[in-house]
């Protein structure tokens, strides 16, 4: 292979908790290999050093919640060849998208001593709502192995193995017994995007839907089954109104309840 310039990777933060970009630092064993394969141009959680653009790969964390964000994401897009959103905030608006179901001005007046200082949008929206996105990585937080897989696939010019089917497929491949069927535990697994490796069911817990809607979610059918299990309308609304509340299928389902 001809020696090529190392791809320049930048990590960008919008409204988020930093958990997803920390997944990259959390790659401990693989981190040095990644650092050897790419040039880290901007990574606020790891270093203050910033290398000027353009960038080959931009990893974007967080949602758009301020007028400043709206401008900044355009700048990131202009400077980036390949833009990957990482996590529920960047792909669905995150937990802060709960504001989309309320009046944000009321929150501001209650929370801040001088509301006039606060410049914010009425909604928290995913990156996709503002610029073209090349790939979306789901999860709250993302799975670090999936992040490595996407970077790996890009570097090697192949398709990333990031299936969009339900969590159930991962659950069954792991040989777990379905929590919904064996003890009637409400589980969002059947409508949730795979990626976590069925983490919660492995601990006998129902899926919380951290990875957002799967490719073709039938939330209505699952909600009907949850009701059959005795889940109240309000709890159903809350279940769909989590980290991925503003992902369209979950938003629609949540609005049918509570």
């Amino acid at each position: 292979m001809a020696k090529q310039r190392k791809p320049k990777v930048a990590v960008w933060k919008f409204s988020s908790c930093d958990g997803c970009q920390l997944s990259l630092l959390d790659c401990e064993d693989e981190l040095l290999t990644v650092a050897g394969a790419v040039e880290i141009a901007n990574f606020p959680e790891a270093s203050r050093a910033v290398v000027k653009g353009p960038y080959d790969i931009s990893l974007v964390e967080g949602s758009i919640t301020t007028p400043h964000d709206v401008e900044r994401i355009q700048e990131v897009r202009r400077e980036s060849d390949f833009l990957i959103t990482i996590g529920a905030c960047a792909t669905a608006g995150g937990i802060q998208a709960l504001r989309n179901f309320s009046n944000v001005q009321e929150f501001i007046s209650i929370v801040y001593a001088t509301p006039a200082y606060i410049s914010t949008l009425a909604t928290s929206t995913p990156i996709r709502s503002h610029v073209r996105v090349d790939f979306e990585l789901h999860g709250c937080p993302i799975n670090k192995y999936q992040l490595l897989e996407v970077i790996n696939a890009l570097l090697n010019g192949r398709k990333p193995n990031i299936p969009a089917h339900s969590v159930c497929v991962e659950c069954k491949r792991r040989g777990l017994a379905c929590v919904l069927v064996t003890h009637g535990t409400p589980c969002l697994g059947p409508v949730t995007h795979a990626g976590c490796g069925a983490l919660c069911p492995a601990y006998q817990r129902g899926c919380y839907g951290c990875f957002g809607p799967m490719e073709t979610p039938n939330t209505t059918a699952l909600a009907a089954q949850w009701k059959h299990l005795g889940v109240s309308e309000q709890d159903l609304m809350r279940a769909f109104r989590g980290f991925n509340a503003f992902a369209e299928p979950f938003r629609q389902e949540s609005e049918k309840h509570g």
Binding site: A164, S166, K172, C178
Partner: protein
């Protein structure tokens, strides 16, 4: 053997089975209680068996329950089929390394365990026979399946009770194990007695039996086992009318009932993953970051995922309607054209483990009862 001989092994002698299999180098797997269910997993001894446990099953519902007795095999089907051992959920097919600009492909050098399966039910024996057809009897043999299947020791257990979602009697696969086993047991508990009526299926089975204290069965004991199996057959939780089933499905591609099922179907793929005969898989090619090493993995897939039917331009079966119809029609109709047998053995797992309790016996009944397009 000229005619099937039946022997009796007392419960007290049963632990000897583990030693007999262990000394032959088998990895013993069978039923054990874990995560609120009776699952198939590695067994160290008789105490790992679900002694005194049973399961209550219905559409979308499975509950572990205590029995009044200390039966070892007093339950029905497990959440997973034996295919998880013979046809692993994820397996590396090959790996390759780039050397001097060319790929060197290397064989897998892993030796799979020699399994001894304890407690294989008649429906699951029929399922293994079907997967044998799929993986071993076509133009190409699946070497991964073959390496696990050929040495496997099978101890079958006849069902002394029928589960809530069982319908093996409709499919003609059970509840009695008739072939495909090394040894077959019927567990009998009555009054103060607890013993196993044992039928020998192979020489290998006879050798194992010889290491257990056993004696010839009496006519009375054999009659007792017959009665148990007859009662099981009469108490199936579900039934499926298989008359002209293939034609029924072929003539009803556009039946409106498919829409009713689709409204409930989650397309979560659980039915296919628990099905003991479903065999679809996907390939994943992975590389390391340097791109110098590559691996090809095979993973269980399902006709309920979008990727499954993805070709240039998109997924062929976009709707849940199309996917459920594909699955049911393949299982009960096109399978017959493809492999000369139904793809359904009546184990009922797809009914129990469907999170929203879709019941294929009920769906077929609905199609049959409301058939509107007759040879049109």
């Amino acid at each position: 053997m000229d005619k099937p001989s039946n022997f009796v092994v007392e419960r007290a002698a049963f632990p000897q089975l583990f030693a007999a299999l262990d000394t032959r180098g088998y990895t013993i797997v069978g039923p054990t209680v874990r995560d609120g269910a009776i699952v198939y997993d590695a067994l160290r001894g008789v105490d790992d068996l679900p002694i005194g446990w049973t399961d209550a099953q219905d559409g979308g519902v499975y509950r572990l329950a205590r029995r009044a007795d200390a039966a070892l095999f007093g339950y029905n089907t497990s959440p997973h089929a034996w295919k998880k051992f013979l046809y692993p959920p994820a397996v590396r097919l090959t790996h390759a390394r780039r050397e001097n600009g060319a790929w060197r492909v290397m064989e897998n050098d892993d030796a799979p365990p020699r399994y001894a399966f304890l407690g294989v039910r008649a429906c699951d024996l029929a399922a293994i026979e079907i997967q044998d057809k799929v993986f071993l009897q076509g133009a190409y043999q699946d070497s991964i399946y073959a390496a696990r299947r050929e040495p496997a020791f099978i101890l079958a257990v006849n069902c002394a009770q029928a589960g809530g979602t069982c319908f093996c009697a409709s499919m003609g696969t059970g509840p009695r194990a008739t072939q495909g086993f090394d040894l077959a047991l019927t567990e009998i508990l009555e009054a103060e007695q607890h013993y196993f009526l044992v039928q020998v299926g192979t020489e290998r089975g006879a050798e194992v039996l010889n290491e257990l204290a056993h004696r010839q069965a009496t006519d009375e004991e054999m009659a007792r086992a017959e009665k148990i199996l007859l009662e099981t057959a009469q108490h199936m939780g579900r039934t499926l009318d298989t008359r002209d089933l293939k034609a029924l499905l072929y003539q009803n591609y556009e039946h409106p009932h498919w829409n009713a099922v689709a409204a409930r179907c989650l397309a979560c793929a659980n039915c296919t993953l628990v099905c003991p005969t479903c065999f679809c898989s996907t390939m994943e090619d992975v590389t390391d970051l340097s791109g110098e090493n590559a691996e090809r993995w095979r993973k269980w897939d399902s006709c309920f995922t979008m990727d499954f039917s993805y070709i240039h331009g998109g997924s062929v079966r976009q709707t849940h309607r199309a996917r459920y119809r594909q699955w049911l029609t393949h299982k009960l109709a096109t399978w017959i054209d493809q492999f000369g047998t139904s793809g359904c053995v009546g184990c009922g797992r797809c009914i129990t483990w469907c999170p929203v309790a879709i019941d294929l016996t009920a769906e077929v009944r609905a199609l049959r009862d409301t058939e509107t397009i007759k040879g049109a």
